[in-house]
Symmetry: C2
Subunit: 795 residues, 2 copies
């Protein structure tokens, strides 16, 4: 380059390397356009015709050349410094970029040997993209090197930080789209640098890709002033570097030299922190890449500006039978990359370009962290029996379920401390959810200022719960799991719904990866939903939503599990199972207030292993069909059902009552629909074919109907949460939703007319009791002593 010789500043790229990098980028751009458009004629060896173009051209061009640009530069820096670095594509609809690069570096053909690195392979590569039976238009589980699916936007940085935790030698390069940057989850995730320890964690390198447009609008960050943009990122605690322009060769040098600085910064921060044990929060570097949307694509089509505008977001040229002249445009565009200079006659990338990519597992598509199951080690598990609550007889003692679990989790954290592969996430609720025992062995990780009265904060620790963002907790945990580690997310039950949509995307990821043999199974995503709908104190109506369960089970049965342990020993047994399990989403609902304990640990293990069972000790139908089945699921419904049963057995001793408790919700569904489901015979043997079932449920009643609509017994009457009640006493909330003992007994009487006047008499007594309750509570602000003092009496 002439300019090189005139320029006296020292360049990062030699003229030769500059040209090679540009050529590699052209190759990636060529492959990207080919994927979007071409059905055949991949090397354009013959003049392009309409029949070479896919019948339905779909995909996203706009972000793609910029991501190709980033990828080739990351390749260079990885190779130069032998970095352990992988790539997260926030604007993941730019699938062609990542797929193309993973192909160029050779990973794609290793994972999918039918797509060879020659003309035949190129044809397959192009055809499969966004084609029926092929691959998604987004970065997806099918894309080697990805832990982050394109599609729903906003979670890239949270995923990146999740991956970087406890991976001190890893750098996660996270490309953030400027559209994505407008989502709430992404906006708050810039603050994650307050949670990343420079000694024990890796680094996250955000690259804000400011190409200026979303689908049809400009982006906010592209239309504020430069000083505002810089203020913003400094305010978020970053050291921003700008890489801005549209001339490819100038931009290559700028990007290369900036990456040199950035890697120097990262390595300097880490070296300093690690050699001096200095935990001061660093100002980590980030890059703001301003490049035209649809860079190097068609400038104008039919008189409309395409490059550098929103019009390049998806397909910049419509090539179909209605636009035959556009075939020529497409061909010119593709030929502008000079494929003949890039690929040999066989369609293989020229060797001098191929050698620009890193090799082996340093290739971003082959980075082991991105197929975390490979790195996954079993947790060292404490014996949960050691944490058993002693239960001399059912209901004889009370216990706080999550407090007991907290002690178990403390020991899990302790046993795996050296492995650095277990973390607890939460939105400032770990203490509120009564898991505080974990702080006997570890702390909450926090790199911002620590002051005198803070508790359990330290620069490094296994708990991350110092940001009030459910989105961040979910994103961190997903990133942590996807890179081969273990963990859980503890959350108020109502507010887990903030991440409904994130859960869906993760469940979809799990479903698709199950179909990919090369993707190894990862640890399950465990939710502990405490502070649940029935256990309000400082909060009310806004904190009541047990609907996550219904949301979860709309996903594929292969990957979702739901548990509602009735007491602490069952919770221990269930959680031990969840932490050992793989590739599920486990939802566990548990209370934090003192409630009666029902089962010994041995009984709990049996009960949880079965997932559902008749509680013989509470039933009096031994050896015969019951008159009524009293079923319950969830800690509070179980308490009320047992209290109802004690009333029934006292006042109507001749009535044969069977008590059924459900821990594993999916047992209710048919075995043909869920692997945990009971077959009809077993279901009928528990619930009978025709006796009335009064089912007391933790969540919305219809969920039980939805799970059981194929069952024979239609005499199913479900009580559950029906959006009534706000701040009140625990028992009154149950009364307002009809799940209390009195309503349950009335339910039985209403359905068994043969009880006659004896039933009517009891019913009237209970109605009077409900009135007494109401008066007492509104006068005294607490429950009747007989409710507070009630105990199961196993006569």
């Amino acid at each position: 380059m002439e300019t090189e010789t005139k320029d006296t500043t020292i360049k990062t790229l030699t003229p030769d390397l500059l040209q090679k990098i540009n050529a590699y980028w052209r190759a990636a751009n060529y492959l990207s356009v080919g994927q979007i458009y071409l059905y055949d004629n991949p090397l354009l060896k013959e003049p392009l015709k309409l029949e070479h173009v896919k019948p339905l051209v779909v995909g996203h061009w706009g972000t793609t050349p910029g991501q190709n640009f980033i990828y080739v530069h990351l390749n260079r820096i990885i190779k130069k410094y032998n970095l352990d670095l992988f790539y997260i594509a926030g604007p993941g609809h730019g699938g062609p970029a990542i797929v193309g690069n993973v192909y160029l570096e050779g990973t794609w053909s290793e994972v999918y040997p039918n797509v060879t690195q020659d003309e035949a392979g190129l044809k397959k590569l192009f055809k499969q993209f966004s084609f029926p039976g092929g691959i998604s238009s987004h970065v997806a589980p099918t894309t080697p090197g990805s832990i982050h699916e394109g599609g729903e936007l906003g979670y890239s940085l949270s995923h990146a930080f999740g991956a970087a935790f406890d991976n001190p030698d890893l750098i996660v390069a996270c490309v953030v789209g400027d559209g994505e940057a407008e989502t709430g989850p992404l906006a708050t995730s810039w603050q994650s640098n307050k949670l990343l320890n420079p000694i024990t964690d890796g680094a996250v390198l955000p690259i804000l890709h400011l190409n200026g447009y979303k689908i049809s609008n400009p982006t906010v960050l592209a239309r504020i002033e430069d000083d505002e943009l810089e203020h913003f990122f400094k305010g978020c605690g970053w050291k921003p570097y700008f890489v801005e322009g549209d001339d490819p060769l100038t931009m290559h040098e700028l990007m290369a030299s900036t990456l040199e600085k950035v890697i120097k910064d990262i390595q300097g921060i880490q070296k300093n922190a690690r050699s001096t044990n200095d935990n001061t929060r660093p100002r980590w570097p980030m890059i703001i890449l301003k490049s035209p949307k649809g860079w190097t694509g068609p400038k104008k089509v039919d008189g409309l500006q395409i490059e550098g505008t929103f019009r390049s977001h998806q397909v910049p040229i419509l090539v179909d039978a209605d636009h035959p002249d556009h075939v020529q445009l497409l061909e010119s565009w593709m030929k502008s990359y000079k494929p003949e200079e890039l690929f040999d006659k066989n369609g293989t990338l020229n060797a001098d370009l191929a050698e620009l990519a890193p090799i082996g597992n340093r290739r971003m598509g082959s980075n082991l962290h991105t197929n975390g199951g490979i790195l996954l080690k079993d947790l060292h598990m404490p014996n949960f029996h050691d944490h058993a609550v002693s239960v001399p007889s059912p209901g004889a003692v009370t216990g706080k379920d999550t407090t007991v679990l907290g002690e178990f989790l403390r020991d899990v954290a302790k046993l795996n401390k050296d492995e650095h592969n277990f973390r607890v996430f939460g939105p400032d609720e770990t203490l509120s959810n009564m898991l505080g025992s974990i702080f006997e062995t570890t702390n909450r990780q926090w790199e911002a200022r620590i002051e005198e009265y803070d508790e359990f904060l330290a620069p490094s620790g296994e708990v991350i719960d110092s940001m009030l963002s459910e989105h961040q907790c979910e994103g961190f945990l997903e990133g942590y799991l996807l890179t081969g580690r273990h963990g859980l997310f503890n959350c108020y039950e109502a507010f887990i719904r903030i991440v409904d949509s994130m859960f869906s995307q993760h469940a979809k990821w799990l479903k698709v990866t199950l179909e990919l043999p090369w993707r190894r199974k990862i640890a399950s995503l465990n939710y502990l939903l405490a502070s649940h709908v029935w256990q309000q104190d400082h909060n009310g109506f806004t904190h009541q939503d047990p609907g996550f369960l219904g949301h979860v089970i709309s996903k594929k049965a292969d990957v979702v599990r739901v548990y509602l342990p009735p007491d602490a020993n069952c919770l221990l047994s269930v959680f031990d199972h969840c932490l050992r399990s793989r590739h599920y989403v486990n939802v566990v609902v548990a209370g934090k207030h003192a409630l009666p304990q029902w089962l010994t640990m041995d009984e709990a293990v049996i009960h949880c292993t079965e997932g559902i069972g008749i509680w013989q000790w509470a039933s009096n139908d031994q050896g015969s069909e019951p008159d009524v089945v009293m079923a319950c699921c969830g800690d509070t419904p179980t308490l009320e059902t047992l209290a109802a049963v004690s009333i029934l057995r006292e006042h109507l001793p001749e009535l044969k009552v069977r008590v059924v408790n459900v821990v594993d919700l999916m047992k209710l569904q048919s075995s043909s629909e869920h692997p945990h489901g009971l077959n009809d015979q077993d279901y009928d043997s528990i619930f009978t074919k025709d006796k009335h079932i009064i089912f007391n449920f933790h969540g919305y009643p219809w969920l039980v109907h939805r799970l059981t609509y194929r069952r024979t017994n239609r005499e199913l009457h479900v009580r559950g949460y029906k959006e009534e009640g706000t701040i009140t006493t625990p028992f009154d909330l149950r009364v307002q939703n009809d799940i209390d003992r009195f309503h349950l007994v009335i339910d039985v009487i209403d359905r068994l007319p043969h009880l006659g006047s004896k039933g009517d008499y009891l019913k009237q007594q209970l109605k009077d009791k409900l009135i007494e309750h109401k008066h007492y509570v509104s006068e005294h602000g607490k429950d009747l002593p007989e409710i507070l003092n009630w105990k199961w009496n196993n006569k």
Copy 2:
């Protein structure tokens, strides 16, 4: 004050006013503590005893004194400048602050006359707080002056901007908690100033309440450096003012003088913009208030620091039978406010303090915008018949449903332009959802830089869709509706789930306000879910989630409505109804691609009014019971059901087929559960009591089972989305989920064994057809011509 006379700078507050403001603040603080703790003895006329304290003390003290501080200062500035200004409490768990202030200003006693402004009223005020049968501990619908419930955090600023749009004389003071500020939705909502027009909209004054702690953690924004904090807000486009300290008198002067500057800034910006028509984006002022958490509360309790730490978040002193000595502590705390100087013997606020509050509707609790139904005007509605698609016979023409709706919405926007009370919100999807016609009459409002190639952007316009944040769209629309205007949120179906939790909170708000006669009904929240699960092109598996419907109907039947119009004329009829309706959440699912049109406008109106109906023109069971009921709900399922019926009628003409279409999903539920529900007789007359129903549904199949589980006819077989398929052809996606015509016919044959060999033969033909389809699609990337060209033939 001595310091006053020595100080030569001019103070905003005279010594007398300073003392009065401080006294008013003490009164508010006193009332706050009283609400949290006291059951009796409200003026502490006798020594405090345990029995004067509530048996269960719950509430949040931490944020409360700071909010009391803000409230009294806003009172002053409102009164001084006669401002139309109301208050949003982001940290809305500080209910005692807002309730106390609304009581002090007199609004509470006007709305709830039993709570008088005397000792008896004080006792009621205190007792009702967080007490069974009383009011919530959070700011709630019961709180006059509120449009924003405390509880779930993160939406305050979006609500504030929604309220400010099209209210040019309004200032919305929005207190943002520093915990709340960590949520994603709040983090992105700082950017809303790029969407607020200084001429046609009002102002939002954010007051970041930096009291340093959440439940048990410090907050991020309180633990970064001051220069970072300033950078951050400048980067977000604000002009930040700091008010920092803990000495009350100093802080009063500082807050007062800062509010003077802030109001001057706001009025200056507006005056300049309005007098010169200058739309340049202003740097609006905001306040960062750094004050101790639990300010003026107990400093230490049992040796632990309380004031200024997380320990003051909820109840700073535990007063119960186990802590009898704490009664004295509480009494000292309350007496530190010197109630005897604030209230007269009757318990009425002294007149010289009472006059600090604004009067009439200038009181923040009485601000009319906060009871938006009062201000609500009916929309001027165009005649939707004018937009009718001409349908000569069923299926004779195709149409793009949302395109037709877009023309209707354009006319709604046009007719209400002068009223400034109708807005369309969306996350950059209004064009993608094919509502582009609206831009013939208006623009997308955008205050950031506008460049050459932008489309439909202008400083002022009725569409707000230039931020890619579903949270913002939902929050803006809620704020807009709650202040008495109309609007809709258009969104991709899958991504509406991002706001699952926000929808829940709004539905809960609607439910509670229905129970409050003084709260006037507001316009319905209308969702248009386009780009739905069956209509993917550039996207795949990640964009498929029809589960919002199931989420919505878990809320109270009084407030939720769900519509799935099968064609454009039905969509028009439904949407006309939704825009006229009040106090509902209406969910409308509609497609954007060309599909057959079935009903004339007159037929559509009848069909949508009924909500469900037998399509006689497609059925051949006239005058008798059918052999099978082919039911459908949703545009794509309707198409496939009709195609299946045409196969049945051609190949099995002797079979009597009834076609039922459902527009109003809630018709399926029992009339005892939903006001729209069919009674059993009507349901049975449509669906029969025992014939097989093959129900083709838009969403998850179980939703139909959940709605119908109480119905007599159990022979219900539902097809719907089952999480299969990604990018493929439209028809193939249906095949992969078994909702296509061929599977439907096979379903019929499988359930009617009496069809014998004729059925078997047809079944085999269809299976062959499915194989042919599969091969064709994977080879050609498009659907079989016979599928693309299929038309209903009404023989």
